[in-house]
């Protein structure tokens, strides 16, 4: 009989399946991968908490593009720049766009808005009216579904130092509205501390939080937006004028508590005044990116990762030379963000690209920005939601 058993090549697999099943019944790892690519974006954080194997599967390089297609989600960056006194923001993504129309902010009632903060969950963004002739007005919007809602204004006569936004990862049982909080730091008249205001979507009002006794100039108009890692928001402060030391300002929105995380000593002792530093969040952990010039025309990128968050201890994860990158793409590419543990997001004149530091360029998108100033990581599903219905 010429019939062969159907599972002859599968025989080895079914033996190793028992090892891959995690000791229980259930599905082999391939099927779990297929399953996770179909889970809606809101439920993915809960799935990451199920086991380390599931978490590793969601961070695999092949996962993101399949998940965006199957679970109807968008994942990319909102890039913002200012030209001719007008702010302009665009959405760029490594994967194809599932919506027929590109995601942008043109649905807002004002033509000139500036993105202040983007939440890590539910795809919400906080924008402010940037036209100085009109009274400043804050909006919360969901660009993927073109929904927006105006917020009551905070004390706008104090200049904004930094803004951050957090949203509840999945809709609660009691309401389907998106719940969020917006934290705004502003500079009081005396300029010796930071005023802190928190907007709560359930009360739909701003509330004053305890002041932060830091010099506001160190946080003023940071070049990079807040980085969400370990459940808190982080900003890299400008270097201290006297000592030149830098640290990371961490603010926990839930506890309304803050602390300063010093940078690794090796980085502080690096005697390079031209070293460029950024912070990023990779797989939920805080990372420090340090760019130095090792030799003429050779840039070296060091990536430090948070080994112990409670103690504030760093660990050097990798050192990569960007010589090949600059040889291929030219010297004028600027590192924007670390998209995943091997992929960096860079921007240059009128284009952005995702570059795998080991394998080479992955994707490139042309944009109409000459020099991008702010980059916000944006992930959202395409489901419309109520934006913070006020509870009475």
């Amino acid at each position: 009989m010429a019939s062969s058993p159907l599972s002859a090549p599968e025989e080895e697999r079914s033996h190793s399946d028992a090892d891959e099943n995690g000791g229980g019944g259930g599905l082999p790892e391939d099927q779990v991968f297929e399953l996770l690519t179909r889970v809606p974006l809101d439920d993915l954080p809960a799935c990451r908490m199920v086991s380390t194997r599931w978490r590793r599967l969601t961070y695999e390089p092949a996962f993101a593009s399949l998940h965006c297609r199957r679970a109807a989600a968008v994942s990319g960056y909102l890039v913002q720049s200012m030209t001719h006194n007008l702010y302009h923001a665009d959405f760029v993504s490594m994967h194809g766009s599932p919506t027929p129309k590109a995601i942008s902010l043109d649905f807002l009632p004002s033509a000139h808005v500036r993105v202040e903060a983007v939440s890590a969950h539910r795809g919400l963004a906080c924008c402010v009216e940037a036209d100085t002739a009109r009274p400043p007005c804050y909006y919360v919007c969901k660009p993927a579904t073109r929904q927006w809602r105006a917020l009551p204004s905070p004390r706008v006569r104090f200049r904004t130092a930094a803004v951050a936004m957090v949203a509840r990862p999945s809709p609660s049982a009691s309401s389907t509205a998106a719940e969020f909080k917006v934290v705004r730091f502003s500079v009081p008249a005396l300029r010796d501390r930071l005023r802190c205001e928190v907007f709560d979507s359930r009360r739909f009002a701003w509330r004053r939080a305890p002041d932060v006794p830091l010099c506001p100039d160190s946080l003023f108009r940071p070049a990079a937006p807040a980085v969400r890692a370990h459940g808190a928001m982080h900003w890299l402060r400008w270097p201290d004028r006297l000592t030149g030391a830098q640290d990371v300002f961490e603010f926990d929105v839930r506890a309304e508590a803050w602390r300063l995380i010093p940078l690794p000593r090796e980085v502080d002792e690096m005697d390079d005044p031209w070293a460029r530093k950024r912070i990023a969040a990779v797989e939920g952990r805080l990372c420090l990116l340090v760019l130095t010039d090792a030799a003429v025309d050779e840039e070296v990128l060091e990536v430090w990762e948070m080994a112990n968050y409670g103690e504030g201890r760093w660990r050097k994860k990798m050192t990569v030379s960007l010589k090949n990158l600059h040889a291929k793409e030219g010297p004028a590419v600027i590192l924007g963000d670390l998209h995943s543990s091997d992929v960096a997001f860079l921007h240059s004149f009128c284009r952005v690209m995702w570059y795998d530091l080991r394998k080479g360029k992955m994707a490139e998108v042309q944009v109409k920005h000459v020099c991008i100033q702010e980059i916000f990581k944006y992930e959202s599903d395409l489901i419309p939601c109520d934006i913070g219905r006020a509870c009475r």
Partner: protein, 210 residues
């Protein structure tokens, strides 16, 4: 589980099929042998949906019984019923585009998930009643392990549409559940150490105190 009435229809089809093939002997239905030895019959047109069986038919080694290791009779019967129902409307290109290829070379209309807000007027999305049949098929399954066996066997036989249906059903079951509930439902072992678990929990902690 092919009713004999379809034999007449299928002989015509697989005669055309065989004419395009290597001129193999006329086949009737394929015989799939489950783990316990019971035979489940599957017509050739329905077997087209399974890439493995299709390749075997093409190669001419689909005679006699085809043992399917690891599949019990109930699951095989369900798989056969699914294939019989979907076989007349099976389009390999469309299913590949929907499932496997993240960057297909042709444009795809992207429909939001079923629980999204739908426009008022819409073309009938379910012309053959297949989606309603699929929903009933999934809801008739007795429990999770039956669903998992279905996915495993469908993966074994390389029926992508059924794998997609099963995985989407399990993903829908996981909506709105806490990690503990997911672990119980899918029988997953929690291999986080307590420190790692506290760290991951803090990552997703909501800013309110509940």
């Amino acid at each position: 589980m092919a009713p004999p009435a379809t034999d007449a229809a299928t002989t015509k089809q697989e005669q055309q099929h065989a004419a395009g093939g290597e001129g193999v002997e006329v086949g009737g239905d394929l015989r799939l042998v489950a783990e316990c030895g019971t035979v489940v019959r599957l017509s050739r047109s329905a077997a087209r949906m399974s890439t493995t069986l299709f390749d075997m038919i093409e190669a001419g080694c689909a005679e006699g019984g085809i043992p399917i290791k690891g599949a019990d009779v109930g699951t095989l019967r369900l798989v056969a019923a699914y294939c019989e129902k979907h076989a007349p409307h099976y389009d390999p290109v469309a299913s590949a585009a929907r499932l496997r290829d993240p960057f297909p070379p042709f444009p795809i209309e992207f429909t939001p998930a079923s629980y999204a807000v739908k426009p008022v007027t819409q073309l009938d999305p379910d012309p053959h009643g297949l989606e309603a049949w699929d929903r009933k098929f999934i809801s008739d399954l007795p429990d999770n392990s039956a669903l998992f066996n279905l996915i495993i066997v469908a993966n074994l036989m390389a029926i992508e549409d059924l794998v997609d249906l099963g995985c989407t059903a399990v993903a829908d079951k996981m909506r709105g559940k806490t990690p503990d509930e997911i672990r119980v439902a899918l029988d997953i072992e929690n291999d986080y150490t307590p420190e790692q678990e506290a760290e991951v929990r803090r990552e997703n902690a909501w800013a309110f105190e509940d």
